[in-house]
Amino acid sequence: MNDFQNDTEIWDSLRNGQKLALELIYRKFAPDLIKYGHKFSENEQLIEDCIQDLFIELWKNHKGLGRTDAIKPYLLAAIRRKIIRKLQQDKKWVLSNEDHSYPFDLELASDEQMIESEMHAEQVKKLKTAFDSLSNRQQEAIYLKYYSGLEYEEIGKIMNINYQSLRNLVSAALKKMKDNVGALLFILVLCIFFCFF
């Protein structure tokens, strides 16, 4: 639970030099930052260093921060830049464009409630295979949209990609998943339909 009702207020408090606001922002968003960070690297120390740097910089530069009413996309974009830069430094990568070569490792969870029948298990396996065949960028976009609940505009800013390309990217990904499981899904739909209605 958070005492600050909205992001604008808490962000303005930070800009005014309230250190408590920094901690509140940390408490509210650090779990999401850590989880997102781990998609890029399994190195816990690296992720923690990046988060530490990010918050120390936020505090040092609080006077120069612009206004925002959405802190989460701002922080996700910042941590993403930091992690990718650090990974590149560590591996001595020479890349002209960061976005076309970076790791992003995401695994679909199997909802135990949903795997009731063997047929369904097969279903989930197929979905997972389809999901694994998606590109890193597609997986990342899907993660930000469905897990972090961000809008396409916000995701676009985080991933440095324009709205239409992003929509195309996600549409193509979802279509691929859907096509891979099309026929089975239909049977499943019928099953669920008769179970619940």
Binding site: Q5, L20, K35, H38, I51, Q52, I56, E107, L108, Y147
Partner: protein, 333 residues
Amino acid sequence: MKSYKKYDPVDFAQDASFIRWVLHHTPKDTAFWQNWLTENPEMEASVEEAKLLVLHLKFKEKEPTSDKLNNLWEKIDQGIASNPSKSRFILLRPLYLTGAAAAAILLLLITFNILKPYPVDADRIYVTTQNAETKTFLLPDQSKVQINAASEIQYQKENWSDYRTLELIGEAYFEVEKGEKFTVVTHLGNIEVLGTKFNVYYRGKKLKVACYEGSVRVSLSNKESHTLSPGKSIVFDSFSVTHGNFDQNSSQIWINKDFEFENVPYKEYFGEVERQFNVKINVSDSSMYESLYHGYFSTDSTVEAALQKACFVSGWKYSPISEDKSVFLITRN
């Protein structure tokens, strides 16, 4: 209105309202989609397919433990306090040549007194408290401040008696020595006194000021100004102002570990319980936050007692407190 009739499953699966319905069952979206489906029964198969697709987009996640989060915050806190230039250097490393040039120019400017170094806030004092922690301290003029849990006060130590101004987030009880005007600044309004005892609560969108002795002037951010005498209180929730009375001689105040609540939303009651006992309260239904509660708890007693009281009145149940200090409240049915 969007033309959902032309949507295929992939379109539905990307629609924000659709996702909210499937994943979060938000009442407004649920009502909309149920209604839409009755009007467009031929779309049922597409919708079901999209629903399954969205429901399957769940990812394996490992939640960071609260220990890990606390440790990391401590590191950040220490990093801020002890090593003010560390991250700057990391930032400049790839640009060390430019950095060196800039440093040389800066040195010249400072040497010839063209540019004064940025003033360091060395005498800016921050007093902060964590959950389940209170602090008592004296200001340079011997005014006494008791600061409640999860709060922060900051002020300029230099020339204190000239300005006597401090900033507050959270809650504090002041016993101010007579002298020049003494001001407590919050985002919702300033509290000005000459020499009195008073309590200020400022969290979220609520400012509450209670006068225990002398006279307190409250200048609100909506330009209204009110003067409080002992036993009078004022609540400003950024829209409306409510006046109240209380017994200023009663010992029922947080500095005596007694927390009283008169018709406040449960959200506020739980917030105080969280801060006083350092627990995290989760509710099964956010509407549980909204109803009003009248009651009290004491930090001499246990967190269970504080939860028990609230749950008894509303017919809720609470879970045992977990290792990471979380507790869940559920409605009985």
